[in-house]
């Protein structure tokens, strides 16, 4: 069942993030694909995440599709101008890829090629608008296409924020994204379900499915690192404490993630698991969450 039909029929969606490696070795991806087959609604492939140069999202989506998985093609505005973005979208369509996730993209200066020229010719709102144009059979300047696309576009939102400005800016941008065709949202990692429930209340009227982000904790260090450096991630002290006291950190981290998923199941339309190196443990986390 496609991501579109799962979300449209109101079923709970599970997507898992897959990060291609640097280089041409695809063994890892193929192993992960086998483990995830039948367990998740879709696999979501990052586009040179954190501005680190890696194997491309489009080719990886194609590989996953061949293995029988439903891919979500992540596309950032960081590296391609409007010609390249549109052309890659047409390529994705002919390869049978249905889902695209439009993102702004991290700054190149934060990655492993800080010398690179940032592009940002379009922003994430305009990229969604462009996807919609292609779906209607036109490019962004209005030329007619020989054969249109049929994408199910998604976008991202950060539900937990530290300033009023950031929250309002996120909500207004979310509405803009919906206005230009975003059909689903996935969020930054959620650790505080009460806060997330408040966010869900505020976007109730928006009428789009929301997949809550879940990142399993691997260590106390990781939790502290994210609190300090990853915008929009707030791991509560209580969870950090639990990790600190745990004998088996990995088991506890997976347990916390499974419990989060159980609770989130009641307040949103799906979860988006970002395992960051723990892709192979996703089935076990889902087992523990009863999914």
């Amino acid at each position: 069942m496609s991501l579109r039909s799962v979300l449209e029929s109101g079923k709970f969606a599970i997507t898992a993030e897959v990060g291609p490696l640097k280089g041409t070795d695809i063994n890892e991806i193929e192993e992960v694909a086998e483990l995830l087959l039948g367990r998740v609604t879709a696999t979501n492939v990052t586009d040179q995440q954190s501005s680190v140069m890696r194997l491309g999202s489009l080719a990886t989506c194609h590989l996953l599709k061949e293995k029988g998985l439903e891919p979500v093609f992540q596309m950032t505005c960081r590296d391609r101008n409007r010609l390249a973005l549109q052309s890659d979208l047409l390529s994705a369509h002919v390869l049978g890829i249905e889902n695209v996730l439009a993102l702004t993209g991290d700054l190149p200066s934060l990655g492993d090629h800080p010398q690179a020229k940032p592009v940002y010719d379009l922003d994430s709102v305009q990229l969604l608008w462009a996807i919609n144009r292609l779906n209607e059979g036109y490019d962004v300047v209005g030329n007619e296409l020989h054969g249109k696309t049929d994408f199910f576009p998604g976008a991202v939102v950060t539900p937990e924020t530290d300033t009023e400005a950031k929250l309002e800016l996120q909500l207004i941008k979310m509405e803009k994204k919906i206005a230009v065709g975003a059909k689903f949202f996935q969020t930054q990692a959620v650790y505080n379900v009460d806060n997330f429930a408040k966010f869900m209340k505020r976007v109730e009227g928006f009428g789009v499915p929301i997949l809550a982000g879940v990142i399993p904790l691997k260590s106390v260090g990781m939790a502290r690192f994210m609190n300090k450096n990853v915008s929009g991630v707030f791991v509560p002290e209580e969870l950090i404490d639990k990790m600190a006291k745990a004998e088996d950190k990995a088991a506890t981290g997976m347990d916390i993630a499974a419990n989060l998923i159980k609770e989130l199941k009641h307040i949103c339309q799906g979860v988006h698991l970002m395992a960051i190196g723990w892709e192979k443990r996703v089935p076990a986390i889902l087992d523990a969450a009863g999914l």
């Binding site: 940002y120 010719d121 709102v125 207004i172």
Partner: protein
């Protein structure tokens, strides 16, 4: 030297929609040299606005609008007039509009687009920066340039990267979009954030050949031809 040209009249009138009392500001610096916002253009704009049913309650040409201290000291004697205006129409480059918007708590409309001259443009010590994009967006952002204040130059709102109001690039750098939010809130213009900005037309960044044949550019050319022996 910063080169600017007037926006199409319909665009300017669109900005002023629903407003009646307008104060016009021009600049005796680059805007006068560009023929976009000197005394002559300010007078012309005044009559055009009046023909279009607006009440121009005052106007002033300052040298230079990009200097906030100067803007404040020149406008102070006219506080009452400026205070009574619904908005200020600013006929100058992106720096000047930003400097006025930062100095006066009034809605500030840009009347010009700043185009790129593709070379050195001297040193500027103020905080405002203009990328000379040829399609000024200050109308939508409370007079803060999104292309320079936001590290990614985003024009439809913030990315998710800010922490405590600082940009994801650098904890020392304010998130431009949070500044824009606070400015629009202060001017009671938060609705502007909801407007969808279409992709920028980067071909507008360079001046048109027609513009290059205007006064100052033309003078430069003559200067090159006739050398003083």
């Amino acid at each position: 030297m910063i080169v600017s040209q007037q926006k199409p009249l319909e665009e300017i009138l669109g900005y002023l929609d629903g407003e009646d009392r307008i104060f016009i500001l021009g600049c005796n610096g680059c805007a006068e040299a560009s023929g976009s916002g000197g005394p002559a253009q300010v007078a012309e704009m005044q009559s055009i606005l009046e023909e279009n049913g607006k009440n121009v309650i005052g106007s002033m040409v300052i040298d230079f609008l990009c200097q906030k201290a100067l803007v404040k000291s020149r406008l102070r004697p006219r506080t009452e007039q400026v205070g009574a205006a619904d908005s200020i129409l600013i006929m100058t480059c992106g720096l000047g509009v930003q400097a006025v918007a930062a100095s006066v708590n009034k809605i500030c409309h840009p009347a010009c687009d700043t185009v790129n001259i593709g070379g050195s443009r001297g040193e500027w010590k103020g905080k405002e920066r203009c990328l000379e994009c040829g399609e000024c967006l200050l109308e939508y952002t409370g007079g803060i340039c999104p292309l320079t204040a936001c590290t990614k130059g985003l024009i439809n709102g913030a990315c998710g990267g800010a922490s405590n109001g600082k940009c994801e690039l650098d904890p020392e750098r304010d998130c431009g979009w949070e500044l824009i939010y606070e400015r629009l809130k202060q001017k009671n213009q938060l609705d502007k954030l909801k407007i969808l900005i279409p992709p920028k037309d980067y071909s507008k960044m360079m001046p048109s050949p027609k513009m290059m044949s205007t006064s100052l550019w033309a003078l430069e050319q003559i200067d090159q031809e006739e050398k003083i022996e």
